[in-house]
């Protein structure tokens, strides 16, 4: 199973309530995924800074003095905002690779959850309500966000196996379904030099998209080729700095419902997740078609592209 929720705001006056609305949607999807939960939220960005969200199993020791030590390694000021087992480090733009190398040395046990100008990813093992509470997800604001509740089938229940997965700067992916060719694809991607940290199938899906985009594909193109290259069942929701997209495999047995009003575009694995959104009674509600890439962006008009079967 697994549950997915997503909310993309057209009306930015709702931005302070994004976390609150998304948390309500996420907790409603507990039945579909009670073992882990996570959220990717696109919030405020600061000029010239890249945000790196990291997680530690021992934050009480790992996070002490982390910004100072990382700053010394990079020769720059680094910001640090702790939030339970996660902390958001702000490093100068362009220094992500140097920061990743430095972190591996000074704090070998921290894991990188996400990087980007505005993206932060928070995820942990546990009931969605407990995960939401520990990070105070309902208090977060942003322009759009994606959440996931996990019922694991393909790999272990761990923080690193929880969704969303970061696929590239400001990009993330959540997945409902199971990929059946992830082992062979993981070997292939590793040979191509793509870093894959776990035995999780969705991480391979995320790494696949990253690899395609590293080789010049747009996100839309990468999603289209994923329909041919990934074997298995999937409903994917992806986030980018200024938008979010949805694609389902040709069989489309993993559920998906979308709703659109003048104020937002919302995604839910089930309609239940959407019922408390403002104006849902009058929203356009529909089921996304199989093998079709949908995309909404703050900078462009919505696009839908049906892939020829």
């Amino acid at each position: 199973m697994c549950g997915i929720v997503g909310l993309f705001l057209k009306d930015q006056s709702l931005a302070p309530q994004l976390g609150n609305m998304l948390t309500d949607m996420l907790i409603t999807m507990t039945d579909r995924g009670p073992d882990s939960a996570g959220i990717a939220i696109y919030g405020a960005e600061r000029d010239g800074k890249t945000k790196i969200t990291v997680q530690s199993p021992t934050p009480e020791t790992d996070f002490v003095g982390l910004a100072d030590e990382l700053g010394k390694s990079l020769g720059a000021m680094v910001g640090q905002t702790d939030n339970d087992t996660h902390t958001v480090l702000e490093v100068p733009a362009g220094q992500f690779e140097a920061a990743r190398t430095a972190l591996a040395e000074i704090r070998p046990s921290v894991r990188i959850m996400s990087r980007g100008d505005s993206l932060e990813i928070y995820k942990e093992v546990g009931l969605p309500k407990d995960v939401a509470d520990r990070f105070n997800l309902s208090g977060m604001s942003g322009t759009h966000g994606i959440g996931h509740t996990r019922m694991a089938t393909e790999s272990a229940v761990t923080t690193m196996g929880a969704h969303p997965f970061n696929t590239g700067s400001d990009q993330c992916l959540v997945h409902n379904g199971s990929l059946s060719n992830h082992n062979s694809l993981r070997r292939k991607l590793r040979r191509e030099g793509v870093v894959i940290q776990t035995e999780n199938d969705t991480e391979v899906g995320a790494a696949y998209l990253t690899w395609k985009m590293m080789n010049g594909a747009t996100l839309g193109e990468a999603l289209e080729t994923s329909i041919d290259d990934l074997d298995g069942f999937f409903t994917f929701v992806v986030g980018t700095k200024d938008g979010f997209g949805v694609v389902r495999d040709p069989i489309a047995c993993k559920p998906a419902v979308m709703a659109e009003t003048d104020q937002y575009v919302a995604f839910g694995s089930e309609y239940r997740a959407l019922v408390n959104l403002p104006g849902i009674e009058d929203a356009r509600v529909w089921e996304p078609e199989p093998s079709t890439v949908y995309f909404w962006s703050h900078t462009n008009s919505p696009t839908t592209h049906e892939k020829a079967a």
Binding site: P255, V257, Y271, R272, E289
Partner: protein, 227 residues
């Protein structure tokens, strides 16, 4: 009229109250408010009562229905009227995947669109969809009638047995062993009756009939590529 607030009073109470009705009941008309996309609303009924759901539902609404008339003033999630035996289920909005799956009897009317696998393995149910249906509909359908006033998606009627399929619009592709068949007067009569009962003003003459080519009934090595 009995009114039941699903949000306040819970699903178990609803289904046990509805299932407790019988042919002699005086409580023949029920209204369910605040469904809020909940699953398994009004399942397993077996009495000639009328139930109206005021809003959209989740999975398996009106499953295993016998005798009752269930109307949904909204859209329904996957598996509406699954394994219906008799009675009627009417959906004002759209239906998600496998609407009317394995139904043995009764009438399912969807006034909007139905998505994939509509009428999968139907065994005698009649289904009328005012809009379009998705891919793999009527897969292994054995008996009954599927009427589509709009278009049908890919692989309609794959591995079909003796269900009749009537489509007014286009069919994206036919599944294995499903072919277009001649529309004879008896088919027009069946279609007219179903359209009337489903409240559609579509004309029977505008439809095409599809059915089984009966080549896959028994295993034949020459057909191995088609199984």
């Amino acid at each position: 009229m009995q009114t039941y607030d699903l949000e306040a009073d819970g699903l178990r109470g609803l289904n046990s109250s509805l299932q407790a009705q019988n042919a002699e009941t005086n409580q023949t008309s029920w209204e369910i408010v605040n469904p809020k996309g909940s699953h398994a609303i009004a399942v397993g009924l077996d009495a000639p009562i009328e139930v109206t759901v005021k809003g959209s539902t989740g999975y398996y609404c009106a499953g295993m229905n016998q005798q009752a008339t269930i109307k949904v003033e909204g859209s329904v999630g996957p598996g509406v009227a699954e394994n219906m035996m008799s009675g009627q289920v009417i959906v004002d909005g759209d239906a998600s995947q496998y609407a009317g799956a394995t139904g043995h009897g009764g009438l399912l009317v969807i006034k909007g669109n139905a998505s994939s696998r509509c009428g999968i393995s139907m065994k005698g149910i009649d289904i009328v969809v005012h809009g379009n249906i998705g891919h793999m509909s009527a897969f292994m359908a054995q008996a009954g009638n599927l009427v589509v006033c709009g278009d049908a998606g890919d692989a309609l009627g794959d591995s079909l047995y003796e269900a009749r399929l009537f489509v007014r619009g286009s069919v994206k592709s036919l599944g294995a062993d499903c072919i277009e068949k001649e529309m004879r007067p008896e088919h027009l009569n069946i279609l007219k009756d179903l359209l009337d009962r489903a409240g559609s003003d579509a004309k029977p003459e505008e439809f095409k009939r599809y059915g089984s080519a009966r080549q896959l009934y028994n295993f034949d090595i020459d057909n191995s590529a088609a199984y």
